[in-house]
């Protein structure tokens, strides 16, 4: 099979852009793939809206994963934007850091198959 290295899209471009612009992002999985909400952690109105959405999803049984973004400019050009284990399950919106952008993936409730 042809080697695909170099042909893969720059997937984490958006994540870095959000990070550099100081914006947080929440990706909510659903039957349409996902929908995404971004907000400025310093903008009270946007934070309030994101918090309400977070609460609504938690009530619906979603699992919230907070993931830290790593800027290759800090870790080196070959660093991955998201490294393994660099995140946690959060139960409350206020567990998100207030001074830096972060990403949250909302995964639907899981069950054994």
């Amino acid at each position: 099979m042809e080697r695909t290295e170099g042909k893969l899209p720059n997937i984490n471009h958006d994540a870095l852009e959000n990070f550099r612009q100081g914006r947080c992002m929440m990706a909510v999985m659903n039957h349409t793939g996902d929908h995404r909400l971004t907000w400025d952690p310093l903008n009270e109105d946007e934070v309030k809206e994101a918090r309400e959405e977070f609460k609504r999803l938690k009530k619906a049984g979603y699992i919230a994963y907070r993931l830290n973004i790593i800027d290759p400019e800090v870790r080196g050009p070959k660093a991955d934007t998201f490294s393994r284990w660099d995140g946690e399950i959060i139960l409350d919106f206020d567990q998100l850091p207030k001074d830096k952008p972060s990403e949250v993936v909302m995964s639907p409730m899981m069950a054994g198959g």
Partner: protein
């Protein structure tokens, strides 16, 4: 107010499965199928029929003028409102006052003939069906592409490569245990031993039906950040024992 009991003897049902016969309660009604019964709603009615011959029933009420009760939700009596539908063979509604009329439609017959009988679509219906199917397919394709993009966002370069080339990627939990996640939804997570041999198949996935890539991302995140939780809920099947047994 006590009323007239109307019993529908299922045994007398004859004829083809779908007929349209309207019988008035005041008359001697014939039991061709289905039938519709109109009656004065100040009376209590009971209609019964053999469960095994009833495909469905529909109870409609027509409200009298100025009725505001929820029961007669047609409101002002200008139309009929469906009160209940179902497949049970027993209809025990009690119509008291403020209802102009009650209609009961009971459909009897052979369910295979009535429910599943194929019908050739008209060209217009075929076109409408084609458009609907195309729209659903487009929505599915969009969802799949979006989920793939989200999954790739959180994969490392080596994981992206094996996913594209081999259809799986490796995940290492904080405990050091390694797992291989294949494309799929059920039993697509494999527990690896220290030699990277698959020793068990694990099954845990989102309850909601989401695109395959979303399922894989959910599994990856939980294995990396909450491995114990994943293992506690997953259905486990040992693969090595099976191989040895074989």
């Amino acid at each position: 107010m006590p009323g007239t009991a109307l019993t529908i003897p299922a045994a007398s049902i004859t004829g083809p499965p779908i007929l349209h016969t309207t019988a008035n309660a005041a008359t001697t009604w014939n039991l061709d199928i289905p039938y519709t019964l109109y009656a004065d709603a100040t009376t209590t009615y009971t209609a019964t029929a053999a469960n095994d011959t009833i495909i469905r029933y529909i109870i409609q009420v027509q409200a009298a003028q100025n009725v505001t009760t929820a029961w007669a939700n047609a409101g002002t009596g200008n139309g009929w409102a469906v009160e209940a539908t179902g497949v049970d063979g027993w209809w025990p509604p009690t119509a008291t006052t403020n209802v102009a009329a009650v209609a009961v439609t009971v459909v009897h017959g052979n369910p295979d003939q009535y429910v599943w009988a194929p019908r050739i679509l008209t060209p217009a219906e075929q076109e409408a069906q084609r458009v609907r199917i195309a729209a659903v397919k487009e929505a599915e394709d969009t969802a799949r592409a979006r989920a793939e993009e989200l999954l790739n966002r959180y994969l490392r370069e080596d994981q992206r490569v094996t996913l594209q080339e081999k259809g799986w990627f490796l995940v290492e939990a904080k405990s050091g245990t390694r797992y291989r996640i294949y494309r799929g939804r059920s039993h697509n997570v494999k527990l690896l031993d220290t030699s990277d041999r698959e020793v068990a198949s694990l099954c845990a996935h989102p309850k909601m039906v989401v695109p395959e890539a979303d399922t894989m991302l959910s599994q990856k995140l939980m294995l990396e950040l909450a491995e114990d939780r994943f293992l506690a809920m997953a259905n486990k099947r040992h693969l090595m024992e099976r191989r040895l047994a074989a």
